[in-house]
């Protein structure tokens, strides 16, 4: 099993969620993060004058899926989180050694 961690733009969550849903990847965990990368921040303003913020709001989506599902999940995310501008985000794939469903105590494949 793998954990897919995708950092995306906040406004893309709905599209990504729907795309995953259609491929019946329903389970996911989302959290608010701030990030920086190629995108060099945004300019905001004080009462007078401006300033730059380099850590921008992003969302992190975490999905734990079977190894064979990783490509499909990646496709769904990339296709729907893209705008083509810097700041679109990154996806990281991490190994997961086991999974437990709290409700039942089921393990691994049965628990996803």
């Amino acid at each position: 099993m793998k954990k897919v961690e995708a950092i995306i733009r906040e406004e893309k969550l709905n599209d990504v969620k729907k795309a995953l849903e259609e491929k019946s990847y329903w389970g996911m965990t989302v959290s608010q993060v701030s990030g920086r990368g190629k995108q060099k921040g945004i300019t905001l303003q004080w009462r007078a004058g401006e300033y730059r913020v380099d850590l921008l709001p992003k969302l992190k989506i975490e999905l734990v899926v079977l190894e064979e599902d990783v490509p499909a999940v990646l496709d769904a995310i990339v296709a729907n989180a893209r705008t083509g501008e810097t700041g679109d985000g990154k996806i990281f794939i991490l190994p997961v050694e086991s999974v437990v469903r709290v409700r039942t105590g089921d393990r691994n494949e049965n628990a996803i």
């Binding site: 993060v33 905001l44 709001p57």
Partner: protein
Amino acid sequence: MPISAGDTAWILVSSALVLLMTPGLALFYGGMARRKNLLSTIMMSFAIMGLVGVIWALWGYTLSFGADKGSFIGGLNFFGLMNVGTEGSDTYASTIPHLAFMAFQGMFAVITVALITGAVVERIKFSSLMIFSTLWVTLVYAPVCHWVWGGGWLGGYGALDFAGGTVVHINAGVSALALVLLLGKRRGFRSEVMEPNNIPMVALGAGLLWFGWFGFNAGSSLMANGLAANAFVATNLAAAAAGLTWMIISWIHHRPSLLGTVTGAVAGLVAITPAAGFVAPIAAIPIGFGVSVICYYTIILIKEKLHFDDSLDVFAVHGMGGIWGALATGIFASSSVGGVSGLVEGNWSQPGTQIVGILAVAAFAFAVTWILGKILSVTIGLRVGSTEEMVGLDLSQHGERAYGGLLR
């Protein structure tokens, strides 16, 4: 007539109370928007406090209350506050300084324009809103205000509007509807969940509105007298009854909702506005009950059946609430309160007169707003771009975000 210190104190306080309603509205609306549009929503009200505040002193007051021109509009005799002094006016509220009357009326103009914004939040271009507001207060608010209160035809005709059911609420609500039709829906309307970002903020806003509305309604008696007390009690009772009613409706459908309760209270305040100085206070109970039923189902109709994106329900609450209030004034008016009888006292013609007022104002407001909106739409555009809308208006229109610091 000499200036009365008691009346002056009351109207100055009332003016301050009505002024506070606009920041209250900013929070009431702001809390219902999504977080990415929170500042933008609040900003609309504050920008209008500045813009309309200045316009009112320059030409708004004179167009509304200047010497009557053909029953339609005021003349320019009060342009730039000329001839508006510390003595009482001959025409209006002679026991208070003319400036106090002007100030009180100005607060109404500000909040009326601000009310409209609830319908167009989360997608209107800020520059267009500023131009629209300038034109609207000049070409819609001032004439309608003149018709009803400034010596124009509608007041003369006998349509009753104690504190602005027609001038403020129907006017704003119907204009909001026209803009909604022009602007179209927000991206994701009815496909994405659009949760209010901060319901405690909505409740705070509602609390300030309720508080300020005493100035709005009871201040409209323009004296600190029995009529003011009558309006005061009717106002409170309508808010209470309507809040309670909406709570019960939401309970029947699901659970007793705070958002519903405060919406109901505001709807009750809308409905009692035209009636407060014409009906016996106890009539506020049926008026408040009626308005919550009407507005609740209007929201369902507009949003779920017609799929109009009247985002914060301005037409449903202010338009329909104002219409019900105007009608209810014709029904419940009591000659012992405001000198005019309504239907329940056997005056069958008053509801008809009220309907003429409703239709005239609604038609005028809708038509002129539509034309103004259309012109803006085909010239500089009414709506922000799609990316700007997705990112949110706080960043895209104002270069700010509501909550700073590292993270949200």
